[in-house]
Symmetry: C2
Subunit: 243 residues, 2 copies
DNA sequence: CGAATGTTTGATCCTTGTCAACTGCTGTGG
DNA sequence: CCACAGCAGTTGACAAGGATCAAACATTCG
């Protein structure tokens, strides 16, 4: 199998410093292969059973936990370039898995090789730590949202997040980004009921602020959206390490 | 200044493999000094300004974010042994800081030295990544709680978490653990109002399940508490890396 | 066409937030 | 020594945001 990984997002993830040839080679050795899955297919990440790490090459999905009573919390949406599976290593007590919302192509890595990877390429390991800290930062933001924001603010916040994440990957001037999920997914991500989420979406639409239809998110009034989300209008995603 | 760090929790944090002498020496070089702060003192972590990392040696505190409208979300409580500051590096857009609830003693590290540390001690870097993933796991749990659990369940969940974290540090058979925070802090951590938190605490007390008074958390009925929190009764904290 | 899935809308209920008042404790200054 | 301010905790009354229930509607697929 050809395991060269030129388009592999783990590179993007680590692109804080230019990559040397040795690093690329090491990355390829680390890589196990590619995986393509259909919408609705679960990515097995439960407990320590799974020995794999993934990066998303294309498509979108959700990462979620499920409570014994059946309630589901979406931890985050998975976009191209995202790294999945680090956390799975430390999970036991709770259901934790990921699921494809569209066709997805994943880059598969062998977790057991990660340790060697660290030894041989400390700089990349450093980047990984940084990526994990970044993930944690995002989760912290989500926590703030679920803890302190109203329904309208939550949806606005989610839209800002999605837009910031995806817009840079779109051709300049694009008015919409792909967000191919169900309202139920967003509801589970924001800790709202499906019905209330739906009504809130309708409100945002009638306010002419943002519309999410047919798997596409269109934002008409960025400033008002940011205000609703209590975010500065020039918000951007942190992408480069600061230390 | 004597910077030997025999009691320093960053060692505990990395205790997955025995430490070699070289590691200890490197750690000490990495260490900047110790810091003791009074209750109510904020630890400056805002934005990229802070060039420091800390581990908590003794005392407790909270790490929180503040919204423009003044609402506060407690991300987590800080216990002895915890590592703080990794996330701060990637934070800009939002207030983010930590504050001491009691007298605290902190171990201070220089962030700029972290990179070198990684290069020279890849295994330790690996541990750090693991620690970051672990943190993320905890935040994910918190997210589930804020998103899906009721007030009673949230408080129960928090008590279980605190107990699991602190009990191993207590003498065997201890019936209470120190939890020296205000009800407002717990409320802000759980996304509840102060009043409702108070009433929920009263309920838990009258149910003879758990009582938190005078900075001490006492658990009388572990099984019922776990049931309320929707957690298995044999829940434990993940402490060792699985890969 | 019918079944399945997802979206939309209205009616009702309830968990939780808000407002307000009171208690008890601690520290301070006259 | 007492008066008083300040702060955390407690309790009750009331309001509201969001959950739940139920039903209709749209779309896709076999």
């Amino acid at each position: 199998m050809n395991v060269s990984c030129h388009a592999c997002p783990i590179r993007k993830l680590s692109l804080f410093k230019p990559m040397r040839d040795g690093d690329v080679a090491a990355m390829d050795r680390f890589k196990t292969g590619e995986l393509r899955i259909d919408p609705g297919t679960p990515l097995l990440l439960e407990g320590s059973g799974s020995a794999q790490l993934f990066t998303c090459l294309s498509g979108q999905g959700v990462r979620h936990k499920t409570l014994p009573d059946g309630n589901r919390q979406v931890l985050n949406f998975i976009f191209p370039g995202d790294f999945i599976g680090l956390q799975a290593a430390v999970m036991d007590e709770m259901q934790h898995s990921a699921e494809a919302s569209t066709d997805m192509v994943l880059c598969v890595f062998d977790r057991s090789a990660l340790y060697d990877f660290f030894r041989q390429h400390p700089e990349r390991g450093f980047d990984l730590t940084w990526a994990a800290a970044l993930e944690e930062h995002f989760l912290g933001d989500a926590l703030v949202t679920l803890g302190q924001r109203t329904a309208l603010e939550r949806v606005a916040w989610a839209f800002v997040r999605v837009w910031l994440r995806l817009a840079p990957m779109m051709p300049d001037g694009a008015r919409a980004v792909p967000f191919p999920h169900r309202q139920q997914d967003l509801a589970d991500a924001l800790g709202l009921s499906l019905v209330h989420t739906n009504k809130t979406l309708a409100r945002l639409r009638s306010m002419q602020v943002a519309a999410w239809r047919d798997g596409e998110l269109t934002i008409s009034d960025w400033d008002r959206l940011c205000d609703l989300a209590q975010l500065p209008r020039d918000t951007s995603l942190p992408l480069r390490p600061l230390f």
